[in-house]
């Protein structure tokens, strides 16, 4: 495989995880525009553990994911009081807060960035991506997922029929943050150099875009969205300077014609012939 395609595949894997981190939070009807912040925490903490503490990467990823998860839960509690656009703005503020923190946090390089990580190859990235994607696909068939969807549909009614909406919403934030942190750790150890600018607002938007484009109601949509988002601008290179404009136009067309994204439940059912049984 050429370095070019290996690079693209690595980007797809990391973006898939980023998209999944938004997906699980969105599944409870909460829109997070701050997941790059959780990604930054995962990135910096795992790099610190592997470089300064000489930890193995796997251990560093697990600890970084747990730490981000706790942060996510802490963020999730005030998020309970916010809905829709207000929550989106608050999480955006959180993301910028984390980025600004690493900008002035000189022990980890500050604005100059941080390096010294050992490069991980495509295989490692995709083992993590595939593993987490599989776990999400299984989670989608679980009882907890039904509860999350109920909260998404009607939070008040969900509470009144006996679901613990607080636990479900905060838990979703914790899980999303952990997945974003894994994406961050893999990003840091693939690029072997990180700086606060890697975890800006655009990164969070990319995650949301991948989910919306690929299909926000099914986990596999995150993979589809990430692939399109990474590959399409590349395939449009032949139109040179116009490619980003063309990319934007294509996005609008997709959203106008398929608001639910490229993949959704009825489409997946048709693809897997599950509707025939039903």
């Amino acid at each position: 495989m050429s370095t070019y395609y290996a690079g693209l595949l690595a980007d797809i894997g990391i973006l898939t995880l980023g998209a999944l981190s938004v997906f699980v939070i969105l599944a409870t009807n909460q829109l997070s525009l701050g997941n790059a912040g959780f990604m930054a925490i995962g990135s910096y903490l795992s790099s610190f553990l592997t470089v300064e503490m000489q930890w193995p990467l796997t251990g560093a990823i697990v600890v970084a994911a747990l730490a981000a998860s706790i942060t996510g839960i802490v963020v999730g509690f005030p998020a309970l009081r916010l809905k829709g656009i207000y929550l989106a703005i608050a999480t955006l503020g959180f993301g910028e807060m984390v980025r600004s923190f690493f900008l002035v946090f000189t022990p980890m390089g500050g604005a100059g960035g941080y390096h010294g990580m050992h490069h991980v190859a495509l295989g490692t990235i995709w083992i993590w991506t595939a593993g987490i994607l599989l776990a999400i696909l299984l989670l989608e068939r679980s009882h907890v997922w039904l509860q999350m969807r109920a909260v998404h549909e009607d939070e008040t009614a969900a509470g009144l029929v006996g679901l613990n909406t607080t636990l479900i919403k905060v838990g979703a934030f914790g899980l999303g943050a952990a997945i974003a942190a894994v994406a961050g750790a893999l990003f840091a150890h693939h690029h072997v150099y990180i700086e606060p600018g890697n975890f800006g607002f655009e990164r969070s938007i990319d995650f949301v875009l991948a989910v919306i484009l690929g299909g926000s109601t099914v986990g596999i949509g995150s993979l589809a969205g990430a692939a399109v988002l990474v590959l399409l601008p590349e395939w449009l290179r032949f139109i040179a300077d116009w490619r980003l404009a063309a990319f934007g136009a294509l996005l609008i067309i997709v959203l106008l014609t398929r608001r639910q994204g490229l993949l959704d439940r009825p489409l997946l059912a048709r693809l897997t012939f599950r509707s025939a049984r039903a």
């Binding site: 679980s142 009882h143 907890v144 039904l146 969807r149 549909e153 029929v161 909406t165």
Partner: protein, 255 residues
């Protein structure tokens, strides 16, 4: 005020609730004995739905105590009260629009065993959950609608799903908020038979209703509210003759 008894499933002792300057409920005391069907009636604005919201933990009582199944649930959050064995339906049927009927019957159940069981695919974790959903689906005759999204269901079926969802959680007490609203006579009669069947199986029922004929033919005991105050209590025959009730609610033509 009634004395505590092992047969008492739900007891309210002097429960009050005000909204701003409005006294929605004042000093309400009532009991539901195990295995009984109890009705709450009263004109619009009498505080019936507020009463339901207090019992299910959606609102907090300003004063008084609510005891359910020997637990003081006055300060419990809604999900905990409902987990203790209470389930409700909604006056305006609040289904989960994008979920199928089958999913409604699964979601209110509590998969037993370890917490992590909730995280693995349903088929692997707990056959009892799907078996119960299957039983409730059949009981309500909803088999044909199993994989239909709630938002596309006809009104009458939505009412059934609302009740089926409540029953799937395996309650000791079922709270029904105007169950026959919008139903014609035959549908109401079907529902009455269905509730009697559930009651025979041991389910206690507390319902709010406007439809007098329905309440009189179903309930063992009635409470009458007016302007947030309990004005009468007793069996249907006594309520029908109670002059206070006639004056406040039924009107002379109901005699």
């Amino acid at each position: 005020m009634s004395a505590p008894s092992p047969d008492t499933l739900l007891r309210l002792d002097g429960v009050s609730r005000r909204f701003g300057g409005v006294r929605a409920l004042s000093d309400i005391s009532m009991t539901v004995e195990r295995g009984r069907i109890v009705g709450v009636i009263g004109p619009n604005g009498a505080g019936k739905t507020t009463l339901f919201n207090l019992i299910t933990g959606a609102y907090r009582a300003d004063a008084g105590a609510i005891v359910f199944d020997d637990h003081d649930v006055t300060a419990w959050p809604a999900h905990r009260i409902i987990r203790a064995g209470l389930a409700r339906t909604f006056q305006n049927i609040r289904l989960f629009a994008g979920m199928t009927v089958w999913e409604h019957l699964l979601v209110t159940q509590r998969p037993g065993g370890h917490v992590l069981r909730g995280l693995v695919p349903l088929g692997w974790s707990n056959p009892a959950v799907t078996a119960r959903a299957e039983h409730v689906l059949k009981f309500f005759g909803l088999e044909a609608y199993r994989n239909v999204l709630a938002r596309t269901l006809p009104y009458g079926i939505q009412r059934k799903v609302d009740m089926a969802r409540a029953l799937a959680s395996g309650p000791k007490l079922l709270l029904l908020d105007e169950p026959v609203a919008g139903m014609n006579h035959d549908e109401a009669e079907d529902l009455r038979k269905l509730l009697l069947r559930l009651n025979e199986e041991g389910l206690s029922i507390l319902l709010i209703e406007h439809d007098m004929a329905f309440v009189m033919n179903l309930c063992h005991e009635l409470y009458v509210l007016d302007f947030g105050v309990r004005i009468a209590a007793g069996d249907p025959a006594a309520i029908r003759r109670d002059p206070v009730v006639l004056d406040a609610y039924l009107g002379s033509e109901a005699c």
